[in-house]
Structure formats: C-alpha cells, structure tokens
C-alpha cells in the first residue's frame, strides 16, 4: 500500500518539478513548485518524519512560495512575450542533465551492489516520528549549530533590511 503511495507522490513531485522548468509563466512555475513541495512533504510522511513534513509545508509552501509570488507580483518581468529559452541552451542543458543523471545512476547502482541491504525498519518504532528525539538531539549534540543558525537568521533579517532600504546619498555606487 505504501509502495503505491510512494510511486504516486514521486510521480507528482517529479512531474511538477518538470513543470517548474518548462512553463512559460512565472506564476505557474511558482505554483508548480508548491505542488512539488507538497509531494515531497508527503514522501516525508511515508518516511515517518512527521515534524519535517509539517515544517516543509509551513516554511516552504507557506512562506517561501508566498514570497516568490509576492516578488513576481512586484516585478512585472514581461515573461509572457519573450521566449523562455533558446534551442542551443536546451540541447546543451539537456546534455549536462543527461551527464549528471548518468553519473548519479552509476553511483547508485554501484552502491546497491556493494553496500549491505538495510532491513525494513517497520518492526521497531520509527526514530523520526517522535518530537522528543528532535528535542534531545537539538539541545544536546547540536546545541551550537542551533545557536549559529539563530544568529544566521538575525543576520539575514538585517541584510534584507539593508538591501531593500533606499539610500539617498549613494550616487557613487551607481
């Protein structure tokens, strides 16, 4: 049963990721990104990471895609009346894509032969399911990274404020 769900959501995620790349309209790209992220969070639920699935929807679907849509609204980029890409770019981009897929596939194939197979973890309690496990890890082993990340958020906020402020006496920068 969960296999069917995996293939369903994997197809949804990959298909809407392709739609992000190939649609001409920027708003349609952002909405396809939203669908793709919802598919990824469904895959997280299949992997028993319920907190991460919820965070994915809140942070990415709620904040990031909404921010993208705001910026698209703010910047009228005339995306509709010009070609989204050239044919030569398409060919060379597809070549690079094929090379990357080939490399990753050979990597995964070799790994599947040599690494011992993981047994199905359905018997025991899944580790990612409990909030307690996250709290214990975040406040013991990863305490310093948590503080650094908090500081990073502060710096990002200050950076955004500085970037979006209009400076009057800075003609020399131009």
């Amino acid at each position: 049963m969960s296999d069917i769900f995996f293939y369903l959501f994997a197809a949804l995620t990959a298909g809407s990721a392709l739609a992000v790349v190939f649609t001409k309209n920027t708003v349609a790209s952002a909405l396809s990104l939203l669908v793709s992220l919802v598919g990824v969070s469904a895959l997280f639920i299949l992997l028993d990471a319920f907190l991460l699935a919820a965070l994915m929807v809140f942070v990415y679907a709620g904040a990031v895609v909404a921010l993208f849509l705001f910026i698209v609204m703010l910047i009228d980029s005339h995306g509709g009346d010009r070609k989204p890409f050239k044919k030569a770019t398409l060919v060379s981009g597809f070549l690079a894509f094929a090379l990357l897929v080939l490399g990753l596939a050979s990597f995964a194939k070799r790994g599947a032969q040599e690494v011992i197979a993981f047994d199905a973890p359905s018997a025991s309690v899944p580790v990612g399911a409990s909030l307690r496990a996250y709290g214990e890890q975040l406040f013991t082993t990863y305490l310093l990274p948590v503080q650094i990340v908090g500081f990073l958020l502060l710096i990002a906020m200050l950076g955004v404020i500085v970037l979006s402020k209009k400076f009057e006496g800075m003609e020399d920068v131009k």
Binding site: I75, G111, S124, V127
Partner: protein, 101 residues
Amino acid sequence: MTVGLNEYLYLSAVLFAIGFFGVLLRKNTLVIYMCLELMLVASTVALVAFSHFNRTMDGNVFVFFILTVAAAEVAVGLAIIVALFRRRQTIQVEELNALKN
C-alpha cells in the same frame, strides 16, 4: 517489490537533476532561483531517507538546519533580485551583462 532506500535515492537524484537542468536552461532569475530551491529539497529527500533506513536521527536534524538556511537564503536572494530590478529594470540574465567586456 518493496520500496527501499534506493528508490528514494533515485528520486532525489532525478529531482536534483531537474533543478540543475532548470538552472542551466531558464533565463528568468526568479525561475532560476526556484530551481535552486528544488535542488535543496532534493538533497533533503536523500537525507531523510538515509535517516529513516539507518534508524538514526542525524539526517532529520540536518534537514531541520537545511530548512532554516533555505528560508534565510530565500529572503536575502529575493531582496537582491528586487534591488537588481530597481537598478537595472530587468531580471533576465541575458540582459544582465555588466561584467562582459
């Protein structure tokens, strides 16, 4: 046939490759940025799958940090794009050629 680690890794690789393809292909800076986000999300799928099949918490916690960094990165990146649009009146990469010549 049951879905194992390999299927999740293949999916992650495909998503990463699609994002990479989009970064190479598109000319609109906003869409390039969305494809970058797609690549980040692809790496989180691999991390959560590793964490689940290894029965450790480290991958999940790492995804937690990736989410935070991605949120900060999106905020700063979009602010840069807006500042760029204010100055140059365009966000198409073929017109942003100030470093050429």
